[in-house]
Subunit: 348 residues, 2 copies
DNA sequence: CTGAAAGCGCTTACAG
DNA sequence: CTGAAAGCGCTTACAG
């Protein structure tokens, strides 16, 4: 007698339906090689006994697991969480499961993660905003399954990727501040020196240059991608004798810290200082004041990357890399600088 | 000749090492049944050829997949993301993989999620803050693998769970407001009527009752767990002829909306109105002003639930349900009501 | 349309 | 200490 705790197999169903297990397998996969009556009977029995085909048995036979591995630094980052949501939606809609693993930007963990993905024979891998890279990127590069990167560094070494145009986004944000009349514009980046921070800095510099505003090293500071880093870096900028009238932040979390730093010393936003972020997280609409920012199409990016991966798995040689554009979302954390307003008044 | 794209198997290693595949299997699992020299040689060959044992082959043989399924409503909720982070850390440390699936609180999706977990033969399931429940809870209940719930409704029907003490947390928050001198205290819940919102409401009522403050239906409003719902609900409360001097919010996201609503009509926080949340998300320290809230030990909760599950899988009959306590974190969004301050001044 | 057989990559009791 | 064998739950080419 079969132990109750063991899951049923197609053999059990075959016995009950008085057919071979091959026929059960075919019936459950809606093969046209089974007579409608037999198929119906088998399916009914399977349903009634709450039978579920074993994906592990199937995987061994087919050589595919219908699963993808997703590597993130941490799921606690709202930007990443949003992208993963889209990844999961897209994957599930195509009957793929998502195995999630966070690296914490720890090289050793990243190795383990990738190793466990290999052991599990995931069909493909998605790497999100990897910050370490150097160590395991080569490891990834030599893997034989498809890999798609989202906003990752070292995109050059890989064929497939989806990335935000960091430079254009940063330029748009900075240009907007310049158009408002700002001349002393700060930038708060990421001290870990991620490539995306470097690129946003470059975009910021480019915008200044085009407006003939000198780039001043003293107006840049380094945060850590989180509010705390933004807070501290902004405190430094605000303590400058001649402080900036506007600050472009690496991301919205950094901007939240910046808002807080300004608030702590009694500055009014945006009257005394303008703050602009990057990402457009869900909460960006609810900060005080609501945050002007560069929106990353998080959902689209997750979906596009997953589609590229799944199309690759389906054998289609689809597009390779895609660059998406950010969109400036103007809210209430930005305004012309006070001096500028005064000047305009005098003119009027 | 073997196709290059197919992963190596233990047979390939066996051939290269001139031993049987049984011996390879043993060597790679560090069995004492293999001579040290042979084991070393096998491992070296495996390493040099970048071989990874197939988890699917192993799973079929052992009947275990070393994976757990985690059901969430959405990973975009920061509270859930934090808990999942702890779950994943704990699971990975014990060599389990996490398969993530979000239900979007959509009954149909929840069914599919659970079904796919069954097919994948996950060893156990973790359900986080399920809000639908009614539909698939019975389905879950009849599954034969261990299930542990975190902050889920219908805990009664399951044996294993980890839950925050919603009533005590809500009471602590409300009592704190009362001690500050507030008498007109509002509550913004969740219109979906989740049990946890009902329980927090009950805790709020209990605290009022003990302080002999009448419960007024008009001071309660319903949000949606997100800032937008908190914003709208708070707008309603603030438009009352005799508006509340303090508001206890279902969660921090709701509180963010509440802060924004107060700010929009020019109220000063906490001078004109006190706001208190629940969760203590990472961003709660950086709202303007920083949010007083009831901290849920998110990391501990995720870790505890995962440990219960993994211990169960390891055969130990560990503890069953655990209730954890929230902790009141006082920041700057709460203060005595203006009237109270005035009265105190007159006394002094 | 159906079944018997082989095989996917492992583990492990059994025999030596 | 080692190997041959059986078996885990499927899929699918082959034969009928």
């Amino acid at each position: 007698m079969k132990q109750d705790s063991l899951p049923l197999s197609i053999k059990d169903i075959a016995r009950a339906a008085k057919v071979s297990h091959s026929t059960v397998s075919r019936a459950l996969r809606d093969s046209s090689l089974v007579s409608p009556e037999t198929a119906e009977r088998i399916k009914r029995i399977a349903r009634e006994s709450h039978f579920r085909v074993s994906a592990v048995g199937r995987s061994l036979a087919t050589g595919r697991t219908n699963s993808i591995g997703v590597v993130v630094t941490t799921i606690s980052d709202p930007f990443i969480a949003e992208v993963v949501t889209a990844v999961e939606d897209t994957a599930n809609a195509r009957r793929y499961s998502v195995i999630l693993a966070s690296s914490k930007s720890d090289p050793e963990r990243e190795m383990k993660v990738v190793q466990s993905f290999e052991e599990r024979r995931v069909d493909g891998i998605l790497v999100l905003a990897s910050r370490v890279g150097s160590v395991y990127m080569p490891m990834l590069a030599q893997m034989k399954i498809p890999i798609v990167l989202i906003n990752s560094q070292h995109p050059g070494e890989f064929i497939y990727s989806v990335s935000i145009d960091n430079s254009a986004g940063a330029r748009a944000a900075t240009r907007f501040l310049i158009q408002l009349g700002h001349k002393r514009i700060g930038y708060v980046g990421d001290r870990a020196g991620t490539p995306s921070s470097a690129t946003r800095l470059a975009g910021y510099r480019l915008a200044l240059e085009r407006a003939n505003i000198p780039f001043l090293q003293e107006l840049t500071a380094e945060g850590d991608v989180h509010p705390e880093g933004g807070l501290r870096a902004t405190q430094r900028l605000l303590s400058l004798p001649d402080r900036p009238t506007a600050i472009f932040c690496y991301n919205d979390m950094t901007a939240m810290g910046a808002l807080n730093a300004a608030w702590q010393i009694g500055l009014r936003i945006p009257e005394d200082i303008s703050i602009i972020g990057f990402d457009d997280l869900a909460i960006a609409s609810y900060t005080i004041p609501p945050l002007t920012t560069v929106r990353q199409p998080k959902h689209d990016m997750g979906r596009m990357a997953t589609e590229i991966l799944l199309n690759l798995l389906a054998g289609s040689t689809s597009e390779t890399s895609r660059s998406v554009q950010g969109e400036l979302i103007v809210r209430e954390s930005t305004a012309p600088p006070a001096a500028h307003v005064k000047a305009l008044r005098q003119l009027g």
